[in-house]
């Protein structure tokens, strides 16, 4: 069985440190800590210089297959759809609201000058409303991402990196 055929959530293979893992990456520390049993066994790196080039191509292809595999996994599709279900309606609504505001301000100036309370008119309320909706949407997006996406995305990141490392190591 090829290592990348496994379930996305299973990471039992002994991945070697591949070149793309950087030691100053903070997530790497978390990863190494969490998967200490697969790491640092002191085995010599299994490289065979003579056949190196072909193997690298193989392992690149294997790593590319990992990404296709992850992309098709239910876990990733869930993360992607959560992201899109929030971002697409949010983008469309604030963009239309902004364009409507700019177009109204430049074309319907008399309507915008309608007084509401004292010297405050429709234009002032609409402008301050733009500030308000920007702040509210920022807060809502940050909250949605934190609660609905971050954990799943981090899990996928670990799994994908484990699989990629496995794929590269496995081909060598």
């Amino acid at each position: 069985m090829e290592p990348w055929d496994k379930e996305i959530s299973v990471n039992k293979h002994d991945g070697r440190d591949a070149g793309e893992v950087r030691f100053d990456d903070p997530w790497y520390d978390a990863l190494a800590f969490g998967w200490a049993e697969t790491d640092g066994t002191g085995e010599p790196a299994p490289t065979v210089p003579a056949a190196r080039r072909a193997q690298e191509e193989d392992s690149d292809r294997a790593a590319a297959d990992v990404y296709l595999e992850v992309q098709r996994s239910a876990a990733f599709q869930e993360v992607r759809s959560r992201y899109r279900k929030f971002v697409v309606p949010a983008f469309v609504s604030f963009f239309l609201w902004y364009v409507a505001y700019v177009v109204t301000a430049t074309t319907a100036t008399e309507f915008m000058a309608t007084p509401v309370a004292g010297s405050v008119n429709v234009a002032m309320l609409a402008g301050l409303g733009q500030f308000l909706t920007t702040f509210v949407l920022t807060w809502a997006y940050a909250r949605h991402a934190r609660l609905r996406r971050d954990r799943a995305a981090l899990q996928l990141r670990w799994d994908t990196q484990e699989l990629t490392r496995g794929a590269r190591g496995g081909a060598a």
Partner: protein, 530 residues
Amino acid sequence: MTGNHQSLVLVLFSVFVAVTLGITTWASRNRHGSAEEFYTGSRLFSPVENGLAIAGDYMSAASFLGISGLIALFGYDGMLYSVGFLVAWLVVLLLVAELVRNCGRFTLADVLAARMRERPVRIAAGTSSVIVSVLYLVAQMVGAGSLVALLLGGTGGAAQTWTVIGVGALMVVYVSLGGMRATTWIQIVKAVLLLAGTLVLGVLVMVRFGGDFNELLSTAADNSGFGEAFLAPGLEYGGSWTDRLDFISLGLALVLGTAGLPHILSRFYTVPTARAARRSVVWAIGLIGGFYLMTILLGFGAAAIVGSDEVRESNEAGNTAVPLLALDLGGGADSTGGPVLFAVVAAVAFATILAVVAGVTLSSSASVAHDLYASFRRAGAKQRSEVAVARVAAVGIGVVSIGLSLLSGSLNVAFLVGLAFAVAASANLPVLLFTLFWRRFTTRGAVWSVYGGLIPAVALVVFSPVVSGRPTSMFPGADFAFFPLENPGLISIPLGFLAGWLGTVTSSEEADEAKHAETEVRSLTGAGAV
């Protein structure tokens, strides 16, 4: 203005320059000379630090002095700018910040090169990034020249020329010696100074009116000479339909351009993770939003307290509204407080310009070294370290923008900034969004998208009234202005998207499924991110 004012302003300028040079020395002592360190400060900034630095990168002197001045002169129409500059950050937050952090390393082209054939997309994205940055730099330096001449009371060209040269030399020193670490800390210091300065002035304005916003607005309307019309849109952009379309075009460019500005994109690489990038944008939105709310207070405050006519007398474009307001709020020209507050505002404006130009220079030197030099280098040429090339590029960009700024000293600063945003929105944003979100997007689509936005944007400006046909144009004698709008965004942004689509559907190669999968997985999860 008295001599005392001027010497106080000069002392504060010098203190700021000394502090920033100190930061640069400290940063260059700690560096290891790696590309990671030079372009990103080793990606070790915290979200709060980066949020402040983003705000510092974004809040230019044009906003601080220019928007408040516009409000002081034309009332509500100036406020339209504040709204556009802020709402733009939602595009960055929702569609760009996290995904770019996950996919790229140093520049915009890195994100495209992850999916496409590397050489053509690097050359295209690198070229458009450098053009946007140079336009933005020239705008800031022309602004610096006229601002310093204005604030120091210097007359004529000499003060202006030496300011442009001085600012250019300082920015080259910051960037080439200190890299991203020094640039970021300079921006943080500047952001704190600017936010504190506007907050103090805003509070003083509100105190003057007993905390009554309504009272402030009605006094501003009374002292503006326009009455109630001052509080409604239309004084500046309400004239002909061309003017109105022009403003809509500018509004689009502002809101879509921010997410394509290279120096803003490069800020997301200075934090360790996509989550940190998101949190830094949330901080930035809070800080920038607060700042633009204050500029509205300052603008109406200047109209109410100083009076629009007096502002117009001091400077046709209104750029001195805030310094004049500070002078009055501090107790007037003859008191101790007035000149001190005036000098502080002048020094803050100067700090603002220095920090912004340093940020833009750094990101454009990254585009030159990381994208263009790497693509054009001959195979046999001596291998140089990328950082060394980037340092040389910073010097080169400094020299080029000093030269261009001296040549274009008479151009309107707000127009140059609007143009930089329009080019960014037309050339950089479509290709970035297509790469991140469109499965079938191909290399040809990417290249067409960049040039299909860049060339119309620049060409439409050449054939606009800005360049010829009006007494205020660059060449008032000639008339080849067949495009009526000053800002090309309304036409060139859709063209950028259209060219990307057209290039993709006509290209013979299929999009690489595996590369798309890699981009999508990496952008949303952060797998394999550096």
